[in-house]
């Protein structure tokens, strides 16, 4: 048997490492800049998609759309792609830069706008259904 001591000698505690030396430095300013850029591009694409959709509808009122089919297809496709890209970018900003307030607010603004448009559309459809159901054509 070895003559091992049966007691534990007090262990000298090493001084704690400074947190800044062990933790990777997070450049919050750079992260904020990236997230804000994504949000601004998203906002621009969202606005462009709405403008493009309005132009498509206004244009269709003045021009025979069947003869100008390709223009309408391009405008409609651009509206859809820009709208989807706007949502994708805001979700990227929200998922990758969770601390960014602009991304959080922008996402909830988009959601509120989508809900508002859905409610307005449902109200219009309900009004049309009610009007058709109660309409009595004379004769």
């Amino acid at each position: 048997m070895d003559n091992q001591p049966t007691y534990y000698e007090p262990v000298q505690q090493e001084p704690a490492m400074p947190v800044t030396a062990a933790m990777p430095q997070v450049d919050y300013a750079a992260r904020k800049k990236k997230a804000d850029l994504l949000c601004y591009i998203s906002l621009g694409l969202y606005a462009a998609s709405i403008v493009s959709a309005i132009v498509t509808y206004v244009y269709s009122a003045f021009v025979n759309y069947e003869t100008q089919n390709i223009i309408f297809k391009i405008l409609s496709a651009f509206s859809s792609v820009a709208f989807e890209a706007a949502w994708v970018l805001v979700i990227v900003a929200r998922a990758k830069f969770r601390e960014n307030r602009f991304a959080k607010i922008l996402l909830w603004v988009y959601i509120a706008m989508a809900i508002t448009v859905a409610v307005i559309l449902i109200a219009i459809i309900a009004y049309c259904v009610y009007t058709c159901a109660t309409c009595h054509m004379p004769g």
Partner: protein, 242 residues
């Protein structure tokens, strides 16, 4: 026995389709929660998938009708949009993407099957002329007696949903389960086309070619997505590499 569909003052098609999609999303959320997907992932995936589904559905309807003022929904556009939405959100969030994808792919036939109630009451996608038992009879200007193709679609796709639930539970490799489900859905949809009024009686009609193209495109999309995300290894193989 015949099934009589009354002529309605307004078409419930849109309402029934949207309700079916909402039910499908609710089931997909339940499946994702059971698979341990975080709430944030579920929220962002549902937002992106909803946006892509609705936008592509409306866009698809505009392109099919060739009218920019035609506001409606296209089923094919919705399916493509849903798959794209899940693929894109998987690439962004990367939190159990194969479980998220499996939940939505498994739920897709439920949405489609329930949405067929809209077709049943709307009178679209009906079967060939038929006078036998369970014939669907429509009154009005476009009336007639038809084979109950929409009801068969509904029953088959809801049964497919149940089979899909079993498949994603039994097959440990979720990507393999997704491939099996996509292949099964393509075959089933292909066969059901024979019952539709617009099928011209040929061996492979143009509608069936579209189904095969859509099925192949879905499999290619999932394959590309799988390689981009580097997912799809069986759990044992993945564990051995770690």
């Amino acid at each position: 026995m015949k099934i009589y569909i009354p002529e309605l003052a307004w078409s419930p098609y849109g309402l029934l389709v949207l309700t079916s999609v909402a039910i499908g999303f609710a089931v997909a959320i339940y499946l994702m929660r059971k698979a341990g997907v975080t709430k944030h992932t579920i929220l962002y995936t549902c937002i992106l998938t909803s946006v892509f589904t609705v936008t592509n559905s409306v866009m698809g309807n505009m392109l099919i009708s060739n009218d920019p003022r035609a506001l409606g929904f296209s089923g094919l556009g919705a399916v493509v949009g849903m798959i794209l939405g899940v693929l894109v959100s998987g690439l962004i969030i990367k939190d159990k993407p194969e479980s998220v994808m499996a939940s939505f792919i498994a739920t897709a036939p439920l949405m489609y099957g329930l949405a067929k109630t809209g077709c049943l009451f709307g009178g679209c996608c009906h079967g060939k002329d038929y006078e036998g038992p369970f014939a669907i009879v429509y009154s009005g200007a476009n009336g007639g007696s038809y084979f109950p193709a929409q009801i068969i679609d509904m029953v088959v796709f809801i049964a497919m949903f149940v089979i899909n639930l079993i498949l994603i539970r039994k097959i440990k490799n979720k990507i393999a389960a997704i491939y099996v489900i996509l292949a099964l859905l393509t075959v089933v949809r292909f066969l059901l086309e024979y019952l539709k009024y617009y099928h011209d009686g040929s061996l492979i009609a143009s509608g069936q070619v579209s189904v095969l193209v859509a099925g192949a495109a879905s499999i290619v999309l999932v394959t590309v997505w799988k390689f981009l995300l580097k997912v799809g290894k069986a759990p044992a193989a993945a564990g051995a590499q770690n």
